[in-house]
């Protein structure tokens, strides 16, 4: 039993379509993919929020002034 549906390449390509593993679970794969994408945004939002909160306490006025001068 092969995950791609073929055990041999001795086939007529005119009759071959999809050859990726686990055909029939495209819907599930899309769900997994979308979960990965949405989870990425969630993690990134939370992390960036924490980072900005920390960053806004970091700079003292003199250093920020010298940064502004640099342009």
């Amino acid at each position: 039993m092969s995950t791609i549906g073929y055990d041999s390449w001795a086939v007529d390509l005119a009759e071959v379509g999809a050859v990726y593993p686990f055909q029939g679970s495209e819907g599930l794969m899309v769900v997994l993919g979308v979960v990965f994408w949405i989870a990425w945004h969630r993690i990134q939002f939370v992390r960036e929020g924490a980072h900005l909160e920390k960053a806004k306490q970091m700079g003292d006025k003199d250093k920020i002034n010298s940064l502004l001068e640099k342009y």
């Binding site: 039993m1 092969s2 995950t3 791609i4 073929y6 055990d7 041999s8 390449w9 001795a10 086939v11 007529d12 390509l13 005119a14 009759e15 071959v16 050859v19 990726y20 593993p21 686990f22 495209e26 794969m29 899309v30 997994l32 993919g33 990965f36 994408w37 990425w40 993690i43 990134q44 992390r47 960036e48 980072h51």
Partner: protein, 457 residues
């Protein structure tokens, strides 16, 4: 060429490989930029020269014997010995290895493989910057570029290779064949070479040595992505008839094939290249907490992890495989660095070596039971074969020779630069002469301005 259809196919194939080779040149440009960007200012010219000279040294040795190894070694030494017939046609004195109107493919096919050879050598080059002798690196470049990687290609990346035949080894876009071996080789060398001065604090805590030029490093990695895309195309045979591959396919539909002569398409690998790049970038951003260079390298690691099966994966599978691989290799890199005090200056062992291993093993599960080749009687893809394959690529053909050769060089005192030179930088001697010459000219100009001697008019 017999008939215009054959002529057209041959000329198309010739042109196809030529284009892929030109794209793949960008990989080397990218590696040069990345290494110079990562190294400190006092080592730039040395770093650049070290990587540039890989080009001629690996090219000429690949012409003299590397290409012959690929054709003669698929079953050597354990499974039938050398293939003298196939080897003879690819010896440097064969008429195929020259201008020859009855053979238009050997030159461009040779060059496609040669560019892989440069890549294997260049991966090792990145790990050892700022402290290896050029002479030592160039021996390693020849050994991995024209000997060890091409043995692994003959065994696991040739339609008749014994690993494909008996293990069901499947590595269509070279997770193991280029990346695991080069990462393993780099690991062997850095274990002997030792870290850069200052890399580890007295208590063994690793220090980050920041890149000198982030812009150059970023452009470098984007060039590597671009060349890598060309590399994917170069791993395919663009068009072939069922008769052209000995009737291994039935019917009369022509197709592109992977290196094992199994059908695939440029469309399939384009989907999967881009999705695995994306999965790698997204996962690396998260796992590295937004570290720019690890994010960029994670894109590369994502592609490398998915490469073993990217001829067959669904694009979402390619994305997830790329993402999973990056999480594993990022954590493994820092664990090895802390545990064994190894300094891999650009993360080459992780991005190429660990990704390659993870990619091979994952492909064993995801493609379980798929035919590794169109030839009858070959083992099908399976996790055990892929894992053994990973050990052979990373450990036997990569790590072991890298370690042994580096040990010999260290014993002869020709591996590492002297401490004094490392402190002043490898470019200091050249810069010193430059600064002196500049000072002399400025002094002469000033003397002329103040009424001193002037050249005769």
């Amino acid at each position: 060429m017999d008939g215009n259809l054959n002529a057209l196919t041959t000329v198309f194939t010739e042109f196809y490989y030529w284009v892929t080779v030109v794209f793949m040149f960008l990989i080397h440009v990218g590696f040069c930029m990345y290494e110079v960007g990562a190294s400190r200012h006092r080592n730039h010219m040395h770093t650049l020269m070290k990587n540039i000279m890989i080009i001629p040294l690996v090219t000429v040795t690949f012409f003299f014997f590397g290409w012959w190894i690929y054709w003669a070694f698929p079953n050597f030494p354990f499974f039938g010995g050398l293939n003298h017939e196939a080897g003879a046609a690819n010896l440097p004195w064969s008429q195929n290895m020259a201008t020859n109107l009855s053979d238009r493919i050997t030159g461009v096919f040779w060059a496609a493989f040669l560019l892989f050879s440069w890549t294997a050598a260049s991966i090792v080059s990145g790990a050892v910057i700022e402290r290896i002798r050029s002479s030592a690196l160039w021996v390693h470049a020849v050994m991995i570029g024209s000997v060890f990687w091409i043995i692994d290609a003959a065994w696991g990346w040739h339609a008749e290779g014994w690993m494909v035949k008996y293990l069901g080894y499947h590595d269509a876009y070279a997770s193991g064949v280029i990346h695991a071996i080069a990462g393993g080789y780099a690991l062997g060398v850095i274990m002997v070479l030792g870290p850069r001065l200052g890399k580890f604090a007295a208590d063994g805590t690793p220090r980050d040595i920041p890149p000198h030029n982030p812009w150059m490093l970023t452009i470098g990695i984007f060039l590597i992505y671009s060349g890598f895309w060309g590399f994917y195309a170069a791993c395919n045979i663009p068009v072939i008839s069922p008769e052209g591959i000995g009737g291994l396919l039935t019917g009369d539909t022509w197709t592109a094939t992977n290196i094992y002569l199994a059908p695939t398409s440029l469309s399939a690998i384009t989907f999967n290249f881009l999705m695995s790049l994306s999965g790698g970038l997204m996962a690396a951003y998260v796992v590295s907490k937004g570290d720019a260079f690890w994010t960029f390298s994670g894109g590369l690691a994502g592609i490398i992890t998915a490469s073993a099966g990217n001829d067959l994966y669904h694009p979402i599978q390619a994305m997830l495989v790329g993402a999973v691989g990056v999480v594993i290799v990022y954590n493994l890199h820092y664990w090895v660095e802390r545990r064994f005090k190894l300094d891999d200056a650009v993360g080459a062992v992780a991005v190429h070596g660990y990704s390659g291993i993870v990619g091979l093993i994952l492909a064993g599960f995801l493609l379980w039971g798929a035919p590794s080749s169109p030839y009858e009687g070959y083992a099908t893809v399976n996790p055990v074969g892929q894992t053994i394959g990973a050990v052979i690529m990373f450990g036997v053909l990569g790590w072991l020779p890298g370690f042994l050769i580096a040990k010999m060089q260290a014993a002869a005192g020709v591996l590492r630069i002297p401490v004094e030179v490392e402190l002043q930088g490898l470019d200091y001697a050249e810069h010193h002469a430059y600064e002196e010459a500049k000072a002399e000219i400025i002094a002469a100009d000033k003397a002329a301005l103040n009424g001193g001697s002037v050249p005769a008019e």
